[in-house]
Amino acid sequence: MSITEKILCTKSHEYLLEEGDTYSIGLTDYAVEQLGDIVFVELPEVGVEFKKGDTFATVESVKAASEIYMPISGKIVEVNNAVADSPESLNNDWENSWLVKIEKTGSDAEMADLLDYEDYKEEVDE
């Protein structure tokens, strides 16, 4: 099953993917395409807690630095150091270039405004 059938997306172009007890968070293909060459990724420390909407990471393309926001509240349990070491992997393979894994700390209500991939695509294609 493709990742696009399982992810939920934010209007700010992050995706959330449920994987058992944890969730991974990454950037959508649209975000990666819009950013162009990604050259720097700054990830948070494991153990830090963020609220929904907080900036938890920064992704920089040649042109600009972009803040990445939490789709839901959570505590960082793992960061993808491979992406920090090779930021271009986001351009080459967005589906496998997750940024962090989190433990959800908020309520399910926080998911209400997340879009499934098809609706998200419609939103960004407008």
């Binding site: 050259v39 720097f40 920089e60």
Partner: protein
């Protein structure tokens, strides 16, 4: 506004952005790929958004000499000079290339974002000079052909002249009348071709088609910016503004110390040539993977000493580089380490000489 090549850019799949009111291509494929192609092969740039003002008349030399610190009286026919346009306090209204086409006829190339200001300023200074200002910006298209193989593509198109760097000729290429200048904004050898709008599409298509064998690629404003940063060429609005003098901007090399005629800002600029400015431009190389960008603060020994004006990646150095204004202190010198504040953390950067990347292909007369 759109250039005459707008539809070509869209058809080539360019990502279009607004730049100084113009819809311009920022990238076609990837900024890094485009950047490297200009350093290794050829890049084609639509820079038709830039301003072209013809200054013509009996007093045109004296008039331009009033406007810029450079000595226009020394220009011979067909020569170009990099100039600045200071206000009366020495602050920069724009930076320019001035070409002497022939006696009493000059071409001034202005930044797209500053054409109106430049024209207004020229008009304000026009009193007493027998000179005509002819703004042709909307009638002309400018295509830059840049890179070590630019000369090969020009030869392929039938160009046979023997032209030095910073010269211009009026000629025909592909049977199109045009000005051909050996200038650019990339730190590479190259040409800029100035034609009336109606010829732009045919010229562009032919350059792309004939350029294939030299790996010519269209290049967007994104790579234009990273290329000029590696070459440490200033960008108006980032590195230059009305509160910055040419001395402070590190452009003293371009200013003759013996220019007799008075010019706007001369008092301040001459005083600063002697004693230095209030601030100075430095080159920085980041010592970690972080990227310094426009307006980030610069610290030295715990004290805020200035800010970054332009910063980003250097695809050729595989490092991140920046230019910054810092207070004019002898302590902040080449090889010393300063810090750049990036997202509330200080990151070390080394002060390095500019340009960051040396031109490999110096122009010399072809035999």
């Amino acid at each position: 506004m759109e250039t005459y090549l707008h539809d070509k850019h869209v058809a080539l799949g360019a990502k279009m952005v607004d730049f100084a009111g113009w819809s311009m291509p920022v990238q076609y494929t990837s900024i890094i790929e485009e950047h490297k192609n200009v350093r290794e092969n050829i890049g084609l740039f639509d820079v038709s958004h830039m301003g072209e003002v013809f200054v013509v008349g009996k007093d045109s030399m004296e008039f331009l000499n009033k406007l810029v610190p450079q000595d226009i009286s020394k220009l011979t026919d067909g020569k170009a000079v990099y100039c600045q346009l200071p206000n009366r306090n020495g602050g920069l209204i724009d930076d320019l290339i001035i070409y002497k086409l022939k006696e009493q006829t000059y071409l001034v190339i202005c930044n797209a974002s500053r054409v109106d200001e430049d024209i207004n300023w020229m008009a304000l200074n026009q009193r007493g000079y027998n000179v005509n200002l002819d703004n042709q910006s909307h009638n002309l298209s400018l295509i830059a052909v840049q890179g070590p193989k630019a000369i090969d593509l020009m030869h392929k198109l039938g160009y046979t002249q023997n032209q030095d760097s910073f010269t211009i000729i009026e000629s025909k290429l592909l049977n199109i009348p045009m000005y051909i200048s050996r200038t650019g904004y990339t730190g590479e050898d190259g040409f800029e071709l100035l034609v009336i709008n109606e010829y732009a599409e045919y010229l562009w298509d032919t350059l792309l088609e004939k350029g294939k064998e030299f790996n010519a690629m269209p290049i967007g404003l994104g790579a234009r910016d990273t290329l000029r940063l590696e070459a440490a060429l200033p960008l108006y609005g980032n590195d230059l503004d009305e509160n910055t003098t040419p001395v402070e901007a590190g452009l003293s090399w371009s200013i003759p110390k013996d220019k007799f005629q008075d010019y706007n800002g001369k008092k301040v600029i001459e005083e600063q040539l002697e004693n230095g400015g209030r601030k100075k431009l430095i080159g920085l190389k980041m010592l970690d993977k972080s990227i310094a960008r426009h307006e980030y603060e610069v610290y030295f020994k715990g004290e805020k000493v200035g800010h970054v004006t332009s910063g980003g990646v250097s695809p050729m150095l595989n490092a991140n580089i920046a230019m910054a204004y810092v207070k004019n202190s002898k302590e902040i010198c080449t090889d010393c380490v300063v810090q750049v504040m990036i997202r509330e953390k200080l990151h070390d950067a080394q002060v390095v000489k500019r340009p960051f990347v040396q031109k490999r292909n110096r122009v010399h007369k072809e035999k």
